[in-house]
């Protein structure tokens, strides 16, 4: 999150901001792994992966607490201004979105345990595709965060419509196949939950994109998006 090229006069202050950025980056990496693992558990029908996702979720929660403590401390003791102020406030928002992503990834993983009991579903490939898009969103927005670059953030923000469309299409098809074959209802419900959770992770990635955009430009992403 190199928003300024020059160093702080008070070294310890600069270090505290760097540590906040590092902690947020670690948290992002952790959540990304969680989501990838949860999706692998679903797609590969491998319930053995679930425990790892759950374990990471606890670590992510602890990281969010840590980010909040650091932000509180910075406000109380350093009174950050300008880019430092925007970075600090964005870190708080981003950590809360990442925590939600971790929680949703955990929910996805739990469904893998349920789905393992059923025969493979035809719509699983669509879940996989939706998952791949959301993973890419998360990856890109974390890139945007670490490089303080608005371009990938804007791309992520724009992908949100595609995620919504794919999710809606998946729901329609699932309802159709449930109507045609009552045997699909139980596994189908699990698939719908997974898809819903992916769609919400996409929303959180979009929130992070907005926060990164604000951090870098001080303006709302909508305004920038309208320009191009």
């Amino acid at each position: 999150m190199a928003l300024s090229k020059t160093a702080h006069i008070v070294t310890a202050y600069g270090e505290e901001l760097d540590q906040l950025a590092d902690e947020l980056a670690r948290m992002g990496g952790m959540v990304e792994t969680q989501l990838e693992t949860a999706l692998a558990a679903i797609v590969r029908r491998d319930a053995s992966l679930v425990a790892g996702v759950r374990e990471r979720e606890k670590q992510v929660n602890a990281m969010q607490d840590d980010v909040e403590k650091r932000v509180l401390r910075l406000f109380a003791l350093r009174q950050p201004l300008a880019t430092d102020l925007r970075m600090t406030i964005s870190a708080l928002k981003i950590a809360s979105d990442l925590e939600r992503v971790g929680d949703l990834a955990k929910n996805i993983a739990y469904r893998a345990e349920d789905l393992a009991e059923y025969a493979p579903l035809s719509l699983l490939d669509q879940v996989e595709r939706l998952g791949a898009i959301v993973v890419k969103q998360l990856h890109e927005v974390l890139d945007a965060l670490s490089s303080a670059d608005v371009e990938p953030a804007i791309r992520v923000w724009r992908t949100d419509d595609e995620v919504d469309e794919r999710y809606n299409a998946l729901v329609r098809q699932m309802l159709m196949s449930m109507t045609e074959d009552p045997g699909q209802v139980e596994p189908g419900v699990h698939i719908l939950f997974v898809a819903k959770n992916l769609e919400r992770i996409g929303d959180h990635a979009t929130n992070v994109a907005e926060a990164v955009h604000f951090m870098v430009t001080a303006g709302p992403l909508e305004a920038d998006d309208a320009k191009s």
């Binding site: 300024s4 160093a7 006069i9 201004l81 300008a82 102020l85 925007r86």
Partner: protein
């Protein structure tokens, strides 16, 4: 040609529909002391009925610019002021302007409270007396009381008006000096680091006072505290090495400064 003056004037939008009129308009104001340039082509429009904060590292020219507004630079030997400086459209440096009259309408408060070695009453009554603002003792009493009230000091001194001004605490002395300035109906009040010698409570009282006074005056305050500038002002101007680098809404300056020099200064980075 100064490189950034147009950009500075363009940033003036901000108060929206209720934007107060321009009180002080400076164009290409330069000051040199003994040939050494202290202020470089400063152009700025300062609105009435609001607080404008001047920030910047020591020696960047903040006090020099304040002194242009009440022609205090006239009193400094070797000082040379050029450019145009208008208050309510009237050129401050015009030969027809009497500096003594000018200084009645442009009051000044300094870092160190400087009450006269006189009673509290006489400190405030001094200005109205020499400017002939009071027709009777009754009149004068009224001016003293209302000025002390406006300065938020009346309650604390009403029963000891004959005590020396210097017997008051630092914060009270500073409010006495403000009452003294108010007593002669100024239009602009300049404050040069008015709180740097005060404790946080006395500072808070001055800040509260500034916030009340801005309804009726054009206030310009020099401060080394970012937090103070942020708390009391609606506009902030950042000076650096004799140049006005950036001027805009305080909120914008402290959340999103445009110039890297402003950015480095207010975030405490090496400039």
């Amino acid at each position: 040609m100064p490189d950034n003056q147009s950009h500075i004037l363009d940033q003036n939008a901000g108060f929206g529909e209720t934007e107060p009129p321009i009180k002080v308009a400076a164009r290409d104001v330069c000051v040199a002391y003994d040939g050494k340039q202290a202020l470089n082509h400063v152009s700025i429009d300062i609105p009435d009925r609001s607080v404008t904060a001047f920030i910047g590292p020591s020696g960047c020219g903040k006090s020099t610019f304040l002194r242009c507004l009440n022609r205090m630079n006239d009193t400094i030997e070797g000082a040379r002021v050029t450019g145009s400086l208008k208050i309510d459209g009237a050129e401050v440096n015009d030969k027809s302007i009497d500096p003594v009259v000018l200084r009645a309408s442009v009051g000044m408060v300094f870092q160190k409270p400087n009450p006269f070695p006189k009673s509290i009453y006489d400190n405030v009554a001094y200005g109205p007396r020499i400017h002939g603002l009071a027709l009777s003792r009754n009149d004068l009493d009224g001016i003293v009381e209302s000025s002390l009230k406006k300065a938020g000091l009346w309650e604390e001194v009403a029963d000891r008006l004959n005590d020396p001004g210097t017997s008051l605490s630092g914060g009270q002395q500073q409010r006495l000096v403000i009452a003294r300035a108010i007593a002669i109906n100024p239009e602009v009040i300049l404050m040069d680091e008015p709180c740097s010698a005060l404790d946080p409570i006395a500072t808070a009282k001055i800040e509260e006072l500034i916030d009340e006074l801005r309804e009726n005056y054009c206030i310009i305050i020099v401060t080394h505290s970012m937090q103070q500038a942020a708390r009391v002002s609606q506009r902030t101007a950042f000076f650096h090495m004799g140049t006005l680098v950036e001027f805009g809404r305080t909120e914008d300056i402290f959340t999103n400064p445009r110039d890297p020099r402003t950015q480095d200064y207010i975030t405490g980075r090496f400039g």
